[in-house]
């Protein structure tokens, strides 16, 4: 389907819904393509290609709300689908807080090109993809006697979405991503430590294509001899790519749903200091080539750059139109874009020196946070650090505490933001965290 065909189908669907009793309607039509090659032992292990389409409709009928999606895009079937959806919606209870956004808050189509898509996606030769996957594998193939298994992979994805609402929004967006990865298992006695490494880019030409297999192998070998050490309070560094696990409960606590439904440990905290002064965070949708960049959100609200934490003081929640009305607060968008930290002056090695003694966490294993209280507990693996040096891989340990105390205990921020994700987390140093081991 071309973009024009999507707009045409969306406009028809809106009219059909309005004609059959809807008061307001939003339609989005998405189409995506993806491919994936995994290689193992010098052979292609899996080869996969896909094209996917879908339509989602949000309906506001007599003050009642529902949302529906389908991948059956034939107009005759869609007509029936929409009519049945409207009929079903009438049985629900009315919800006075449901409506499309204020049209004045919509994106008006005047934004810059954020370069979120590679227009050469369709031109890429399938043979190149296979070759790249083998190139990753060949970096480590038979390079070390301790290797048990290497899986290397190439993947790509692109999508385009058209969205139209009955009160005046109309817009489309496109994205792409290309990735290479390696997973290496090594023989470490009884245990068979496995580590991975990956690269990812919006533009194929910007994808880092070397060092992936080698880094995965190096990281796996360093895990041989993992052990658990004594329980106690240790200073803790979390490596940039692992920070997300500890960071997502903090971001979830800022979500409008969590606030209004009391599943947040940061209710009524705007303007208060809730974290260390080292926490300086901005949500920036306008980074050219950012993985989370966008001009409007999934409701059509125009994107805005916002400070989230200023020296540990909470500046904003993430609130969509519905929870904005329930909370009597202005909507800010219910979703994060690029989360950018103000970084410190040193990299991971510098943080290790600065910590001197403690534990470097490089991965998490399970665990959870209680959204209402902020109490958390996570399994970890990583390395014991003594006198500024990594001395021993550790595993089979937990960290436990409360999110409010954890973020107050943030002592240093690295200068190594993880740029493969829209959450550009640097490595972080925390003081005195409870570890459980022996």
């Amino acid at each position: 389907m071309t973009k024009e065909e999507k707009y045409s189908l969306a406009n028809w669907a809106i009219q059909h819904a309005l004609d059959h009793g809807a008061d307001q309607v939003a339609i989005s039509i998405a189409q995506s393509k993806s491919s994936q090659v995994d290689v193992r032992e010098q052979k292609i292990d899996t080869l996969k290609e896909a094209i996917q389409s879908g339509l989602t409709i949000r309906l506001y009928v007599e003050g009642k709300y529902s949302a529906h999606s389908t991948n059956r895009l034939d107009q005759t079937e869609l007509a029936r689908f929409i009519e049945q959806a409207i009929a079903g919606t009438r049985y629900l209870s009315a919800d006075p807080f449901r409506s499309l956004p204020e049209p004045s808050l919509y994106y008006k189509g005047d934004g810059a090109d954020l370069k979120t898509v590679d227009r050469g996606y369709d031109q890429l030769d399938p043979a190149t993809k296979v070759e790249l996957a083998f190139q990753v594998e060949n970096e480590v193939w038979k390079k070390d006697d301790r290797i048990i298994s290497v899986t290397a992979g190439y993947s790509d994805y692109t999508n385009n979405v058209v969205m139209v609402t009955s009160n005046g929004f109309s817009g489309d967006s496109e994205r792409s991503t290309f990735g290479l990865s390696a997973s290496v298992s090594v023989n470490g006695g009884d245990a068979r430590p496995s580590e991975g490494w990956s690269e990812r880019a919006i533009l194929f030409d910007k994808l880092v294509k070397s060092g992936i297999g080698a880094t995965a192998l190096d990281r796996a070998l360093k895990k041989i001899g993992q052990t658990k050490i004594g329980s106690g309070k240790y200073n803790m560094i979390v490596e940039n790519r692992a920070v997300g696990r500890l960071f997502s409960p903090l971001i979830n606590a800022l979500n409008g749903y969590s606030i209004q439904q009391k599943n947040s440990f940061l209710i009524d905290k705007i303007g208060e200091r809730v974290a260390s002064e080292k926490l300086m965070l901005t949500d920036d949708p306008f980074i050219v080539g950012g993985h989370g960049s966008r001009l409007f959100d999934n409701e059509g609200l125009a994107a805005q750059k916002r400070v989230v934490f200023d020296k540990g003081v909470l500046s904003t929640y993430f609130i969509d139109t519905y929870y904005g009305k329930k909370l009597n607060m202005a909507p800010t968008s219910g979703e994060t874009t690029n989360l950018v930290f103000e970084t410190g002056s040193t990299n991971l090695e510098g943080l290790i020196k600065a910590m001197n003694n403690g534990i470097l966490v490089t991965g998490f294993n399970g665990g959870n946070t209680n959204g209402s209280t902020g109490d958390f507990s996570y399994g970890i693996d990583g390395f014991l650090v003594e006198n500024g040096e990594v001395v021993q891989p550790v595993s089979e340990m937990n960290i436990s505490g409360n999110m409010k105390e954890l973020w107050m205990a943030l002592a240093e921020v690295g200068n190594d933001p993880y740029l493969l994700s829209s959450w550009q987390t640097p490595s972080l140093l925390f003081n005195k965290i409870d570890f459980s081991g022996i």
């Binding site: 290609e49 049945q84 079903g88 919606t89 190439y154 068979r192 749903y257 340990m397 937990n398 459980s436």
Partner: protein, 521 residues
């Protein structure tokens, strides 16, 4: 593509408002009427009327299926299969006292897979016209490079058991029939405890129609119903806020809904939340852990189940890769992965490779008896497949996956087990778990439990992670009671980016030593 082999299990409360849910979930209004109805046609075919109805539903016939398979194998593949799926999901949810939102999703298409040895080519199509299917078959065929002429195998219809016979299917049930149960669940929770301040309740039903055909000529079909109901409860007292979740899920029809299940869910949600006001954290470190009957089956899922999945063992990446036939646990330990429990969320009449489901002993009398196989791994190990080849949808390739994983009863009693522990914990309510296949480290998150002091349950505990090592934990199961129980919560297992419904179960057992999260002394 997957960077790490961390497998997960979770039954956390999901906020149905989130956009991610819209993509995968669905309203009680979408229906099968959108597609050709299931009519029994009699064309003198040797196929059953049931199968013929599925062929009609997907608008295909034997000749088309055979052509697509021939194309899939045209470049030299050894084996090919077609997996047609039509899935309808409907969801109703309550927030702030009223059933005020509905979601629905319709998904339809065919996955085409070609095997060459243990290599896989895969493509899918969302339209099932011959042209679209032949195009996808050509793509999947590329895993092989050569030429081959295939003569079509005769169609053989597989026999079908019926592990989820239902009384009233969801497509006959309207929104007004379902709403009162969700409303009652909310009202009962509020009536039970004055500290309740918020309730999120939801009901999701799902109906899948599956048609399967492979290059060996096997043809079969399945009708898979599913219902899940859950309540997330928030209580407040003197500024302290606590939450709890309760859910039930079965392959059942509308007969699932009754006063009893609503009462059960309301009581469980309230009890699980109320206990937290008195709860503390244990001291951090290693200690004996008594796993209460039921949801403690998460121990088996994480510590043992995933590491027994034969794809990991075939590749040598599992810590159990060289342990087949070896003694791995006490002799009273019998661990089963079962796809045949009536109405169970993890049950399947056939797996997603058309293989009959079965009850598989993973550990028999303490000895590692069988891995969990799909077609590729069974062929690699030269054993019969165990019916564990599962996929999230027609968009995904089958992998060895669990169904209902549980342990059979042992020789001890619950009271004896608790009495045997001087200082430790008792746990029986969990939200999620994870495992690292190679290192063998597994975790599960405890929502609540109790301290054990001098053989007695004392103070409640909450929100702690427990971590252990699979082979060690299995060997450390030193006592097992007679109170076997399956947990029928909304457990969903994640692996390689694919989610499938499962359940787990366990009698009360003692694990001699695990590392418990908590506070340092």
């Amino acid at each position: 593509m997957q960077e790490n082999t961390n497998e997960t299990l979770n039954q956390e409360h999901m906020n149905v408002n989130r956009r991610v849910f819209l993509k995968t979930s669905g309203t009680a209004v979408a229906g099968s009427m959108l597609l050709p109805a299931f009519i029994q046609s009699c064309q003198g075919s040797p196929l059953s009327a049931g199968l013929q109805a599925y062929l009609d539903h997907f608008e295909v016939n034997a000749q088309i299926l055979q052509r697509v398979i021939a194309t899939a194998l045209s470049k030299g593949g050894d084996y090919a299969d077609l997996f047609f799926e039509h899935k309808v999901q409907n969801s109703l949810a309550l927030e702030d006292g009223q059933v005020n939102r509905a979601y629905s999703n319709i998904d339809y298409g065919v996955g085409i897979r070609v095997l060459k040895g243990d290599q896989t080519g895969f493509a899918y199509s969302e339209t099932v016209t011959p042209e679209a299917m032949l195009k996808a078959a050509n793509t999947a065929a590329n895993i092989a490079s050569g030429a081959k002429n295939i003569s079509a195998a005769d169609l053989t219809e597989a026999s079908r058991p019926d592990y989820y016979a239902i009384q009233k299917n969801w497509e006959e049930v309207g929104v007004p029939d379902k709403i009162p149960f969700i409303q009652q669940l909310n009202d009962k929770i509020f009536a039970m405890d004055e500290r309740v301040s918020k309730v999120n309740a939801s009901l999701t039903d799902e109906t899948s129609y599956i048609l399967f055909y492979n290059s060996e000529g096997t043809i079969t079909f399945d009708y898979r119903p599913m219902v899940s109901m859950g309540a997330f409860c928030i209580m407040e007292k003197e500024g302290q806020i606590e939450n709890g979740y309760a859910s039930r899920s079965f392959r059942m029809g509308f007969e699932f809904l009754n006063d009893e299940v609503v009462d059960l869910l309301a009581r469980e949600a309230v009890e699980r939340t109320a206990i937290l006001f008195e709860a503390t954290k244990p001291k951090a470190g290693e200690m004996p852990v008594v796993m209460g009957a039921g949801g403690s089956g998460i121990l088996l899922h994480e510590a043992i189940g995933h590491t027994f999945e034969a794809d990991f063992n075939r590749k040598g990446t599992s810590i159990f890769a060289d342990k087949l036939g070896k003694k791995v646990a006490e002799s009273f330990v019998n661990i089963v992965d079962d796809g045949t429990l009536p109405g169970n969320r993890g049950s399947l009449n056939m797996d997603d490779e058309g293989v009959a489901s079965e009850k598989t002993y993973l550990v028999k009398d303490g000895v590692l008896n069988s891995y969990i196989h799909d077609r590729i791994s069974a062929n690699y190990y030269q054993v019969a497949p165990t019916g564990n080849g599962r996929r999230q949808s027609f968009r995904h390739m089958p992998l060895p996956r669990m169904r209902s994983t549980y342990m059979e009863i042992g020789p001890h009693t619950k009271d004896d087990i608790i009495a045997s522990v001087k200082n430790g914990i008792y746990v029986d309510n969990f939200s999620n778990g994870e495992v690292k296949i190679g290192a063998g480290d597994f975790t599960f998150f405890v929502k609540s439990g109790y301290l054990i002091e001098n053989g007695q349950l004392t103070r409640p505990i909450k929100d702690i992670n427990i971590i252990g090592n699979g082979p060690q934990a299995l060997a450390d199961i030193t006592m097992c009671a007679t109170d076997y129980l399956i947990d029928n919560g909304t457990w969903t297992c994640g692996k390689s980016g694919q989610s499938v419904p499962v359940t787990c179960g366990l009698p009360t057992v003692l694990v001699k030593k695990l590392t418990v999260g908590g506070l340092s002394a």
